[in-house]
Symmetry: C2
Subunit: 477 residues, 2 copies
């Protein structure tokens, strides 16, 4: 494809994407594909000869789109929002179109320096002090793994430079809550800690980690001959957006000199609102934190910001310096390969840069405030309706609900919950994610798709009550 052919096909594709986004509300939100259906529509072997771009574009319509769940739909209330604002989409296009790579600063200076600037913009926007240094990674899973590797190496005085983790005589302990994200557990196991050494700390009735329980667990572990190594606290847990008490946990962590990582993947976006910053009060006491602008804030996936207070430690754990990557500028610049796992990096900063500039901070704040208000409105409707319950505090934009008609409990209640959620998802009118809370299924209503206005939330509530009523009529009762 020549640049001129690209120009023509590119204009077609821009129109196709603009049309898709304009019509996004018309699609059934959750895909109706059945397993294997898409695969069966595609050739089993690659084409030997070129195909026309028009044929590819037609397949986008006829095969791909029906096989998607539409994350950008105003009727998307599943998981957490993953907004790709159109300005950030263009920033990503610029990155891919330029096709440059950051291996070292020298390999594309602007790639590194714009990343430094926009991660610092985000630091300022979220009210963090200038003691933090940021870098862009793919996901919070990766950032949490980096933190636990940093913790492991700090606790063992760089065992990786000697006999490795296997040479450590005493078990090192990582503290998490039952409401930590699944990636925390995964990171601890991959970093080599072992399931026996990942200790669950009790939470309070609002699903927030108890700092006193953490302090108690650490004392017991020290007495047992273990080495407390790290705690992962969450600002905005996945199930209920619970807020672990950062300040109190940081105090315990400091007392025992253990690494404190804060997973603010979801709630980090809300920190651009000064009125929300109480949610991570004490954050300056953490060693590392992650927040994902690719969620609620609106940067096209993937864009996960990782901040550390001691970049020299991160670099000492992660650095490599083969001759083919050295350059004369190395002493004066950041080489971001030493801030994470991959050597190569895309020009990811562009999508954040485009979005913040095209939106401006105030418009980003206004949109998040709209969503917070919609969530409060929705929670109020649920609370005001007989047989309905809001199951957890609603500090952010996610509301955990259950319909509990008289006489339904235990597994029958679970069946009822899953039935009405399934009915909603199959209707195409909404996408909702059920989850288990205190051993029972409930439904998370996660508001915050960029296109979701109050009218969509109001329609959702009408549809939910109707779906639950139908389920009660035909199902479990």
């Amino acid at each position: 494809m020549t640049p001129e052919e690209f120009r023509k096909a590119g204009h077609q594709l821009i129109d196709w994407i603009a049309d898709y986004r304009a019509r996004i509300a018309e699609f059934p939100v959750m895909s109706r594909s059945v397993p294997g259906e898409i695969k069966s529509l595609l050739p089993a072997a690659p084409p030997l000869d070129p195909e026309l771009f028009d044929a590819i574009l037609r397949d986008l319509d006829s095969i791909i789109v029906p096989g998607l769940s539409h994350w950008q739909s105003p009727k998307f209330f599943g998981y957490f929002p993953s907004n790709g604002l159109l300005a950030s989409v263009l920033g990503d296009f610029a990155s891919t179109g330029l096709g440059v790579l950051g291996l070292s600063w020298q390999s594309s200076p602007a790639l590194t320096e714009v990343e430094e600037v926009v991660t610092d913009w985000m630091r300022q926007m979220t009210g963090l002090s200038d003691a933090w240094s940021g870098v862009i990674h793919d996901t919070a899973s990766t950032c949490t793994l980096l933190s636990l590797l940093c913790a492991r190496e700090r606790s063992t005085d760089y065992s990786l430079s000697r006999g490795g983790f296997q040479s450590e005589p005493q078990p090192l302990i990582v503290y998490v809550s039952a409401h930590s994200h699944s990636s925390v557990d995964k990171a601890a196991l991959l970093a080599g800690f072992g399931r026996n050494n990942v200790h669950l700390i009790e939470h309070d009735p609002d699903y927030a980690m108890r700092a006193d329980a953490l302090a108690g667990a650490i004392r017991r572990d020290i007495n047992a001959g273990f080495v407390p190594c790290a705690v992962v606290a969450t600002t905005g847990t996945t199930a209920t957006t619970a807020l672990d008490p950062i300040e109190a946990i940081a105090k315990v962590a400091a007392e025992h000199k253990i690494w404190m990582h804060v997973d603010a993947a979801m709630a980090g976006s809300a920190m651009i609102l000064p009125e929300c910053r109480w949610m991570w009060q004490g954050i300056e006491g953490a060693d590392s934190l992650v927040l994902n602008p690719h969620k609620w804030l609106g940067v096209a996936f993937d864009s996960s910001l990782y901040y550390v207070r001691d970049p020299e430690h991160l670099i000492r754990v992660m650095s490599t310096n083969p001759s083919y990557l050295r350059s004369a500028a190395d002493a004066q610049v950041k080489n971001l390969r030493d801030w994470g796992l991959p050597l190569g990096r895309r020009f990811r900063a562009l999508k954040l840069w485009f979005m913040i500039r095209e939106q401006g901070v105030k418009a980003l704040q206004d949109r998040l405030r709209r969503d917070l208000s919609n969530a409060q409105w929705f929670a109020d409707q649920v609370r005001a309706t007989p047989d309905w319950r809001v199951l957890a505090p609603v500090p952010l934009q996610t509301v955990c609900i259950r319909h509990e008609p008289a006489g339904l409990e235990g597994e029958a209640l679970d069946q009822h919950t899953l039935a009405w959620a399934d009915r909603m998802n199959k209707s195409g009118e909404a996408y909702l994610t059920p989850a288990i809370l205190d051993g029972r299924w409930m439904v998370r209503v996660s508001i915050g798709s960029a296109t979701t206005e109050h009218e969509h939330v109001a329609a959702l509530w009408r549809q939910i009550t109707s779906a639950a009523a139908q389920s009660t009529g035909t199902g479990a009762c």
Copy 2:
């Protein structure tokens, strides 16, 4: 930005990218930025109010482009090629425009199933048997880390499910060569093996790992009470594209039941040419391999293919299954979150799918053959010229060279080499990467940018000889 505003700005950006690619040969290949220059041109604080898209586009021209090294230039001979063919660029645009996420199959079925299909297309294109299952990750660094984690867990019968790596009584050993990529060392250290347990295996005069030396090292380690765990072999090393003897290494690995990972990040693309497949003869004996279509083949970064023979083992090491990610389809589908580190994934398969369809396999083969032929031509010129040496075999598209005028040796020769390479890079007429081989600096000429034709390679040779002559005249002599 509304879809209509996106349409307008998108057309502008498509034209901008088409113009950039059409004019790519005009830019100085290596950026002339000095450290801090880009940063100093950007506001230190984020804008509170929206900016016009035109202002952003202007800054791309005035600030970003001068700060880039132009990887898509026909005069780019640095590192390894990282081609972003324009069809794959459009595939990536479609992915970003759709803005869908793969957390589970259910969260976007087409995302998972197209990934299954295109990784299988690539399996067929590279002549691998159907015993391999593939998945797309970001980079080879990540894939190699996954392999060493899989190896660690296989050797310890899933220590992560118990006391972790720290509970293992005997040191586990990973075998690498001095010519393995820096990411191999990094992966071993991050996986917890420790520097003392990463054993370097000798290479032969062609820089390929010696299988007999590996066998000897394993025997010595077993006698010393160590547990041999994994070997990483390379098809196409970074410094010289050396080819480790895969078949012989696989035999040793099988005998001792150690994990064998093959890093074919660069040379994997060449396996679409049947005449190149001798280079990884015996590959079916490996446990895992990585090849990067985002290098020579032409898929916009990032697109790293990871193939394993036992996906169940990978899944058991990597899996998480929280309630909010479960769906009724789970038993019948692949959930690719359990095939790697991140939970979320972009629709990366689209860029591979677009590229293979728009190009067709034959055109991809033709381009790689062109580059192989250009590399042989270039090596022939070097060999035929007095005072010039080709320092390593040239099985692929990278030629390692040195100008060795009479009387120059040792550090003076190093200074001369770095001087003429620097002169070339500063000229803007080429980008070359110096590297150290056998303790002395040399220059890698890595041919294979998609736009590089024979004329560019011929011009490069004229410029190199001229730069070296000038250096000799003014510099070290």
